[in-house]
């Protein structure tokens, strides 16, 4: 009897942890830091709501506290909205969600432009980067060429990106055009990855929409600044016989799309998998509930989070490096074939 009740407790715990991890990995409409249940059994949330901006025949702006953490239906100007699986659907007063055959909600969805938790983190990171690097740039003028202040730490990194990522890949002639983009994505991805490791519970780079936008930017910049040589290499590769040229053209065209796509998948999967592993190990502590098991899983979780700090920097570096490589392809001059 005792073992049976322990087992049901075990599976409940596992399902609870799984739900918690899923909630942690997703974006959310309010910035909730933590929640607890006090002695009277009332559930308290610590955090603050964020504005929800919808376009549904007119702009509707309201606070996400109207949803009461997904439990109630929000009424705005006569229209009713409900949250199901972290998406907003238009519904009626009772909050009915109509499911179709694949058990997906079939209610109409308004255009969602809300300020969610990830958007807040992106704003914070953008402001942080702006002020940090502006103070670094200004300190050069006021200190006669020597950096001072908090930006001092980033000066060797900026120089490294210029000397070891941009110039070897893009070449001396054109690298300056791309430097601002490379610096931006390097520090953007690095800071957002580090923020994902803090207890704030934000998961920005583990969100496929965000990595998709970054990869899309790399794709657009590569193809919009490609010179004639670049396009010639894709569609009519010089230096190979004609049957090979015809075979190579569709492969190279696919490569144009696959290369930024791999950037997208690499960053997303690395960050998402890291978070899942880390939180599963922490959840393992609660499943074991013994002195030895919990201590060991704590140690393992600690070691893995140290590796995640390294992976945060590494993924930012790889993204920047490969973007610089693709830019180098785009502006490559024609080499005469050596015979």
């Amino acid at each position: 009897m005792l073992s049976a009740s322990n087992e049901t407790q075990g599976t409940d715990k596992k399902a609870e942890i799984k739900a918690y991890i899923t909630h942690h990995l997703q974006d959310s409409y309010d910035f909730s830091l933590t929640s607890y249940t006090d002695q009277q059994g009332v559930h308290h949330y610590v955090g603050f709501p964020l504005p929800i901006i919808l376009w549904d025949n007119g702009l509707k702006v309201f606070s996400s506290s109207k949803f009461h953490h997904g439990e109630s239906v929000a009424e705005v100007d006569g229209a009713f909205y409900a949250i199901e699986h972290n998406k907003i659907y238009k519904t009626d007063e009772a909050g009915t969600i109509n499911y179709d055959e694949q058990h997906h909600p079939a209610n109409p969805k308004p255009l969602d432009l809300s300020i969610t938790k990830s958007v807040v983190m992106i704003f914070i990171t953008g402001l942080l980067m702006f002020f940090l690097f502006r103070s670094l740039a200004r300190s050069y003028a006021s200190n006669r060429g020597v950096a001072s202040g908090a930006g001092r730490f980033f000066e060797p990194i900026v120089l490294y990106i210029r000397d070891d990522i941009a110039i070897p890949n893009i070449g001396e002639k054109h690298y300056k055009r791309y430097m601002s983009y490379l610096l931006t994505i390097f520090f953007f991805i690095w800071f957002l990855n580090i923020f994902g490791l803090t207890p704030l519970g934000v998961n920005v780079t583990g969100n496929i929409a965000i990595t998709f936008s970054l990869a899309l930017l790399t794709f657009l910049i590569t193809n919009l600044t490609g010179n004639k040589n670049y396009w010639k290499h894709i569609f009519w590769m010089p230096g190979v016989p004609i049957p090979m040229k015809i075979i190579l053209a569709p492969i190279e065209l696919l490569g144009v799309f696959i290369k930024p796509f791999s950037l997208l998948i690499r960053l997303y999967a690395n960050m998402q998998a890291g978070h899942i592993v880390l939180m599963s190990l922490i959840g393992l502590m609660f499943i074991f509930k013994s002195w030895l098991g919990s201590t060991l899983s704590f140690g393992l979780a600690f070691a893995i989070s140290l590796i995640e700090v390294l992976v945060a920097l590494l993924q930012a570096y790889i993204f920047t490096m490969l973007s610089a490589l693709y830019f180098g392809f785009a502006v490559e001059e024609h080499h005469e074939e050596a015979h």
Binding site: D164, S262, L314
Partner: protein, 63 residues
């Protein structure tokens, strides 16, 4: 508990492990031959490892 999915994930991890292990091994040998080129070899090793890891993660997510 889908057995094919689990077996597939295991195969992906074996492939990624072998690939990155070989790269790491050759990088070690190259550093042993020429210790002054440590920085360049490390950079190249990380790039190759990240490319292989990218494919591995994509396959794992598909599985």
């Amino acid at each position: 508990m889908e057995i094919p999915a689990i077996v597939g994930a295991g195969l992906v991890v074996i492939g990624v492990g072998m690939g990155i292990g070989r790269i790491g091994g050759s990088a070690m040998e190259a550093i042993a031959r020429q210790p002054e080129a440590y920085g360049k070899i490390q950079t190249a090793m990380l790039i190759a490892a990240a490319l292989i890891e990218g494919i591995g993660f994509a396959a794992l997510f598909a599985v």
